[in-house]
Symmetry: C2
Amino acid sequence: METNLSFVQFRPAFGDKDLNLENAVKLLKQAKQGIIVLPELFSTGYTFTSKKEAAELAEEAPKGKTCRRVVELSGKMRSTLIAGFAEKSSSKVFNSALVASRGEFLGVYRKAHLFYKEKLWFSQGDTGFRIFDTKDGKVGVIICFDWIYPEATRILAVAGAEVIAHPANLVLPGLAQKGMCVRSLENRIFTITANRVGRETRGEDSFRFTGRSQIVSPKMKVLVKASSTETVVKSVAVDLSEARKKAITRLNDLMAERRVDLYGVLTQLSG
Amino acid sequence: METNLSFVQFRPAFGDKDLNLENAVKLLKQAKQGIIVLPELFSTGYTFTSKKEAAELAEEAPKGKTCRRVVELSGKMRSTLIAGFAEKSSSKVFNSALVASRGEFLGVYRKAHLFYKEKLWFSQGDTGFRIFDTKDGKVGVIICFDWIYPEATRILAVAGAEVIAHPANLVLPGLAQKGMCVRSLENRIFTITANRVGRETRGEDSFRFTGRSQIVSPKMKVLVKASSTETVVKSVAVDLSEARKKAITRLNDLMAERRVDLYGVLTQLSG
């Protein structure tokens, strides 16, 4: 069975949710029905200058504007959408991604590994790494910098993810793209990195976001990718059952042969 | 402080330990004093055809011929040598690597994740992943296919490894090299992959080993590499303290920020 995987790569305008949602809606019309990933913090922009500012732009899930609009779109498009947004929950603000499938709000993932000043505006994610079992496939979510922690994607693969949705606002050129290729291969899963483009200069920070969104196969083939500057939607049809085949040779099953008897140190902090 | 890291890439002759040791000794003369890695099963060759054959070529550590010679060389060279060999221990045979430093036998690592027919000749490694704290640096060892399991290198990095010695007999072109680059980056450590070259055709198997040995920095720079066919020794001087710097930004410490509170699933088998 074929499933279309897509990313939306564009340039959010800082703080202008209505404009960002409008632009995202236009772009989503070019995506094929299936699993579609939007960038991290796509409706607010990235470069906050205070905790107060982040809190003011954040919204509750699923009743906030971004959430409602994405859930509605997922219904119209008969698709599964994964989109990064700033989430307010009681007194906390999280760098989250929502998962909406065919008109239904399925939940959020809250970023576990915060990068740089995100640590000043956001609380550490408390959801853990979750599988969203949708009609379009089993989706796991990580956000941007989570990629460098092999544990994040691994946990999702162990739990049965076929696809990792990876909304991102990457600033370093190419590292995460190479990393996500290896994440696909070492777990034999599809990965969709949806990165943003453009520059944001606010307060003392100026970030250039590096695009190069990509979709990678379980055998580490880059199926589609974007340039470092273009606004673009790309889709590719895949067979998700490829992500359930963990045989490396006729004698090796990649996931079943994990030596969990030797892995205890992974749940300990560094010396 | 500078430390030289080296790999020896060559073509072992199947079953001819004396010749392989003699060739290794000649090549080692070209390596600089420091940490030097030889390929997996460097003294026996790779393509066994029976469990009996593997057992006959295997030796006890440290009293077997390969071990004694490598320990002696490590003394003469005032260096730390890591070398793959077939290890006999009571009734079992392991695909192991020995670590010898400045004339002293430090111990063995027994390969945890066996590839293809290795599962027929060898027992699963039972040493776990160990740090060898030498005068040349803190060395962790993985063997060949272990690379695809992020857990292996991660455990060693968590335990304080500055360098991963990676003796290999790789047959797939380039996958492990890309993987080991990401292993260096995600753990901020040096990695030395010492792969063999040449073809071995024995029984029903014919393997072409793909060379391309490499040494990678904690920032994923390939410092030196070999071609897919040459017999060669390459060395590079590095500052191992680079591997102890885990700061990614002024607000991020890569290893300290592992979310061990969320990683429990890693010690569980796949669904």
